[in-house]
Symmetry: C2
Subunit: 200 residues, 2 copies
DNA sequence: GTCTATATACAGATAGAC
DNA sequence: GTCTATCTGTATATAGAC
């Protein structure tokens, strides 16, 4: 058991949660230290700067995203995968209403200050976009894959933002239905059997 | 000429621009004072607190939004109005790529810290949503007006976020075409004549 | 490796001369 | 109404004992 990394993990987890809830700039090292039950001075043994914590948090998010993508890939066929993605992305509606998207909100906040943190965060959304695009490719969308992927991810991110702004979980719920209908109605080569699987 | 409000206006305009560019929390009163060419100490003659400047900026945005809505209403018929809205919302693509949506980003940032500022900012997006909804109502969307309005505003806001995150103006450009096609393909009672007007 | 005490910087906000 | 000087709080970060 790696006792050494125990505190480090606690710090990253605390920072991850607090940054989601309060944003990066509003979250202080004192907040993180308290939440992780680590004395403030000790934080600097594990992370030289606040930015270093930010990097660790984004790397953690990247790992988790990779795991989610792996789990979406377990659905059979691209149509079912995209359905799973939509359902999963907009599943934790109460958290969304309170804090928005852990990745999208971070990209927006960090995007304004530039730097390497912003690039790291942007890569998360980019990876997500690339995955969605490849699913549309597998669905036979051809050169419209990019367009469809952009439409889907925009809608999902916009739904996060509006749900968070209006603090109304039902809003995300309604959008799930709209997006599922949109997906089903797209002019794609998906087989009827595949659509059936997704609805099962 | 109201000389008295001259400095006040300069401060609000400076704050409006800086908050759009840097976000609210990262924008200091010193930044605003410098941009407005007003000594720091003098800022407090016009605004008791930083929050008071935030309120003034949001009120200014509300006025501007009201003017934009009035200008969108000048288009003939709801279909043309929605087309105008989409084109206008995603017109200043370079600014979007650099700083995102002046309203949406603010709602996300302030939404995390709560308070009256967050509510004021949320009202801007709410007014926009209500207007879009009423246009779909006029198009005969009936009880689907809310659903369509939510879809459209989500897409627009998500487009802002992705365009800003990836710093790619072309992304917003592509989404304009997608959204216009989506609008045209909706199962609505819009007359052919109305669609023609929108395309003219 | 851990933790207390503290240095440093800068933010919002105020006092008071002019 | 205007502006300089400054107060106060707090955030990041460091020093150094243990």
């Amino acid at each position: 058991m790696p006792r050494k990394t125990d505190k480090r993990n606690r710090l990253v987890e605390a920072a991850k949660a607090l940054i989601h809830q309060q944003g990066f700039n509003l979250t202080t090292l004192a907040d993180i230290a308290q939440e992780a039950d680590v004395p403030l001075g000790n934080v600097y043994y594990y992370f030289k700067t606040k930015e270093a914590i930010g990097i660790a948090v984004i790397e953690k998010r990247a790992q988790e995203l990779a795991q989610w993508i792996a789990s979406w890939n377990e659905s059979e066929g691209p149509f079912a995968r995209l359905s799973t993605f939509i359902l999963h992305a907009l599943s934790d509606i109460d958290s969304i209403a309170r804090f928005g998207c852990p990745i999208g909100a971070l990209c927006q906040e960090l995007g304004k200050q530039g730097g390497s943190l912003a690039d790291l965060a942007a890569k998360l959304l980019h990876d997500e976009l690339t995955w969605v695009e490849s699913q549309f490719g597998a669905l036979g969308a051809g050169d419209r894959s990019q367009e469809f992927a952009l439409s889907l991810l925009s809608s999902v991110q916009g739904t996060y933002l509006l749900t968070h702004t209006f603090k109304d979980p039902k809003l995300a719920d309604r959008q799930v239905k709209s997006l599922m209908n949109w997906l089903k109605a797209l002019p794609l080569k998906a087989t009827a059997k595949e659509k059936e699987l997704a609805l099962a």
